[in-house]
Symmetry: C2
Subunit: 159 residues, 2 copies
DNA sequence: GCAGGATTGCTGACGCGTCAGCTAAAGTCT
DNA sequence: AGACTTTAGCTGACGCGTCAGCAATCCTGC
């Protein structure tokens, strides 16, 4: 890696840590929700009738099932989400549902959260910078997904 | 926020979460160190004689003192760091020092960690993309630091 | 039918990071 | 000197995220 690449890599970590912390703090101050809670509530709010299967929800927001299960436990403890009876044929499946409280919490959080993202992120960048950033991020995302899908390029049994 | 800004903001979060997870996993697999441990060891390795004051170290790596104290406790438990007697006049100050084990752990981790950053980050981007990304990140960092320094622009007592 | 695997969902352990709050030592002001 | 604030450092509580591992259910091939 060149000096410039290394510096940029370090900057990426520093900036994203800053933004995560500050936007998370705003969200907590504005709506008493963590970023993780907001993410789950957002997905459930999107879904028809505010219900979803855990596995489908986890896939949609890019979490593994364990992470989601822990978050659902905490959300249920807070009363923002509840387990619903699943009428599906699959006996393994469960169904989670937004409570009224969860729905209103999300609605109250959405506006301030977008405003916070604007304040810390969008306000800073010109249109051209956003375009360039979007390009780099898409490239990184493709590259990363590709690497993650084929993690060990050498010395595989290959059957 | 425009649709494009919002999408880019979401992408930024997704990409950085991916990179954090994967590079962290690599570091653990290669050297049995977490990113946080590596950061502290890196700073101490840089310092003359491998010693530093907690407050100075925290400032240098951008952490608050609590976060560093917790990390130092864990590092000490692992035997990578130890408290040293401080000869300073200031009775509040303490002094932390790398152990031999800590020094070798850092040295063994550095190469693989850089290679991991190259693999997940630098390999993906063209020189131009790195330049553009660096520009956006510097802008965001300036903007964020400025906001963080003057958090409430309205309705301050102003003495 | 049933054995072997895959999928779904959950849990406990553990490291991480934030926050509130504490002690002790310096510095400051009168 | 005595009171006030600031600084250095630490801790406990708590939410978060990863990993290893478990139980139940479903699917496949024999």
């Amino acid at each position: 890696m060149t000096e410039r690449q290394l510096r940029t890599w370090e900057n990426l970590q520093e900036v994203t840590e800053l933004l995560r912390r500050e936007v998370g703090r705003d969200l907590w101050n504005d709506a008493k929700l963590s970023e993780a809670e907001f993410t789950v509530l957002a997905h459930l709010s999107m879904a028809a009738k505010g219900t979803a299967r855990p596995s489908e929800c986890a896939r949609a927001i890019g979490w593994d099932s364990s992470r989601l299960a822990h978050q659902l436990r905490r959300l249920e403890k807070r009363g923002l989400v509840e387990k619903a009876a699943s009428e599906a044929a699959d006996g393994r499946a469960s169904l989670i549902a937004l409570t009224d409280e969860g729905r209103t919490a999300y609605r109250r959080a959405l506006g301030p959260h977008l405003r916070s993202a604007q304040k810390w992120f969008a306000d800073a960048l010109s249109d051209e910078q956003v375009d360039n950033l979007a390009d780099a991020l898409e490239t990184l995302l493709r590259h990363g997904s590709h690497l993650a899908a084929a993690p060990a390029p050498t010395a595989e049994p290959q059957v």
